[in-house]
Symmetry: C2
Subunit: 354 residues, 2 copies
């Protein structure tokens, strides 16, 4: 493996952390918990830090991205940081004309629809370590500050990236992307292969700079049938993960609405499967054959419910997750922006006490 | 049963139609097909008819609603019409302050969040036949023109209606609705019970005016776990369907992303289950124990693919659907507005030829 000798896993800083142990199927010293989108709009200190700075600008400012990444760790005593970024950041760094419009999401300068469009995209070439320097710098700063708390590296999966590129922005059913997949499978494969290499390079840079685990987010995989996922998406997701296959880090794979896809998402090379709030963890564990550590799956809707309701739900999630060979408590989707952050702190404390 | 003697099922006009026979598990004379959202923006004659008329105004103009309902039957030779309306129409007729904003969807004057809000809603009283007269008139006009082709009556399911009311408009994960469901189950039950009676009265009016079948759309049920669906949604959906239980019409139940919920959605009292494009019909049939007629499930994304790709897909859907005790071909979600309508005509012809 190519981890530098100062890497937290190599120097042992995070090797025995609760997160890394649970991801490895080993008993952790305390039950690990973190929250998807924990670094973000639910925190007043985040909203303050972001004043006057656009989203992509914030992601590419090493000091700011690092500060934002650290905020929820300080506040909630969670067991991991996840690097503050956006799934389109590697597209931007690869040279794609993309911006993030507040209230809308990522918007592309032009949609990628044809074989020619994909060929032009591929001419941008691979995403180089030089281009990734702001990310590497942000990760290095963060890891220094985190000490024994592991940082999770982050990337959007090729299908989700390709869906943004083909649609030109967010969409409900990703119709144009799913049409291309069937109408021109060769162009689709070329597109997702390119996206896989971009996502993989982004993940690799984060690990080499000090991340102790990785998570691939296929936000929109839930729009696919199992057959389409297996034939047209899984090969690219597997390719993305090969970029970190020689590095000693566990790989988490997560999407929403993916209860039918869990085994297929594991089988692209993931070590840990993230489960959305819709499927009980004991049932997810059964579908995965009882061999795969799980992450999840507190229903974000319950973060706004009275504490006794939320507490009962968290205890239920923990009980169901305990049947898996490893369990990292998380939400079953990202933190809603309007969440009261003191509730998240209280959930983290409860998880540690159970 | 209370069907008037001139009702198409009673006078035999539609009793032996392919649609009604397939919904009843009897062999149809030809394989029936229709398309969810077939009356709508994919048709130039629809766009022309709608010029200068707002959505809710169009739904409540009997002549216009009838004309729009008939357009796809004339054009595509489909085996059923579905009454042109919107799931918020019965809310509007019940006295709720709602409008449909182009490009946004239904927007409520104020969101329904508290027990007091729900109490005020319930004070509006039941949805009366008088209030429903524009709907009854539109249906009667349509049924006269349709002759032997059956009309399907339409309503949004209580969960989807309640989600609009609680969120105040469209939302991605229906967080506020799902929070209320757990935070205050009694208020949630009162809300969905009211919504069930409104949806049920809307369905009943359409059947009494001449519809030969009904379809309940739970557009957003796919955001729920099976446990939440069963505990907090199924009772209200069952209540909605009791409003037509004494009438001799088959009841279809459909939602997207509901592969985990199919049996629960059947068990609220549906005769036919609509299956979205994600789950193969043979697998849906297996999950339903092989006893329930199915409707679905051409992937709308493939309507924009080259014909040979679409044709192979349609043939696959038909082959898989043939294992069920009845199959009405449809899409696995609504017609995308940008669909070339000549493709829909060609699909209908293909289904009839297979």
């Amino acid at each position: 493996m190519n981890l530098p000798s100062s890497h937290p896993l190599v120097d042992g800083r995070t090797k025995n952390s609760s997160l890394v142990r649970a991801y490895s199927g080993q008993a952790p010293s305390r039950r690990p918990v973190w929250f998807m989108r924990q670094a973000g709009r639910s925190l007043p200190e985040y909203r303050e830090a972001r004043v006057g700075t656009a989203m992509l600008e914030a992601c590419l400012d090493p000091a700011l991205a690092s500060e934002i990444t650290l905020q929820p760790v300080r506040r909630h005593d969670v067991d991991a940081a996840i690097f503050f970024s956006d799934i389109v950041v590697p597209l931007k760094l690869a040279g794609v004309d993309v911006e993030i419009k507040p209230g809308v999401g990522p918007v592309m300068g032009s949609a990628v629809r044809t074989a020619d469009d994909v060929a032009r995209l591929r001419e941008l070439g691979p995403l180089t370590p030089d281009a990734l320097q702001p990310v590497s710098d942000g990760v290095a700063l963060t890891v220094d500050a985190l000490g024994e708390t592991p940082l999770i590296g982050f990337a959007g999966a090729p299908f989700t990236l390709a869906a943004y590129l083909v649609e030109g922005g967010p969409s409900r059913d990703h119709l144009a992307a799913r049409t291309l997949m069937h109408a021109d499978p060769a162009t689709w494969a070329a597109l997702t292969e390119w996206a896989a290499d971009v996502a993989g390079a982004f993940l690799r840079a984060q690990v080499l700079a000090g991340a102790s685990a990785t998570q691939l987010f296929d936000s929109w995989a839930g729009s696919l049938s199992l057959a389409d996922y297996t034939a047209h998406v899984a090969p690219a997701s597997a390719r993305a993960l090969t970029h970190v296959a020689d590095l000693d880090v566990k790989k988490v794979h997560f999407g929403t609405g993916t209860s039918e896809l869990l085994a297929a998402m594991r089988d692209v090379g993931a070590d840990v499967v993230g489960v959305d709030y819709r499927l009980p963890l004991d049932e997810a564990n059964r579908r995965l054959g009882g061999t795969t550590p799980l992450q999840g799956n507190i229903d974000p809707a319950l973060l706004a419910a009275p504490w006794p309701v939320l507490e009962a739900h968290v205890r239920d999630v923990v009980a169901r997750g305990s049947v898996a060979p490893g369990h990292v408590v998380n939400l079953g989707h990202g933190v809603p922006p309007e969440t009261d952050p003191t509730v998240l702190t209280r959930v983290a404390r409860l998880v540690h006490e159970i």
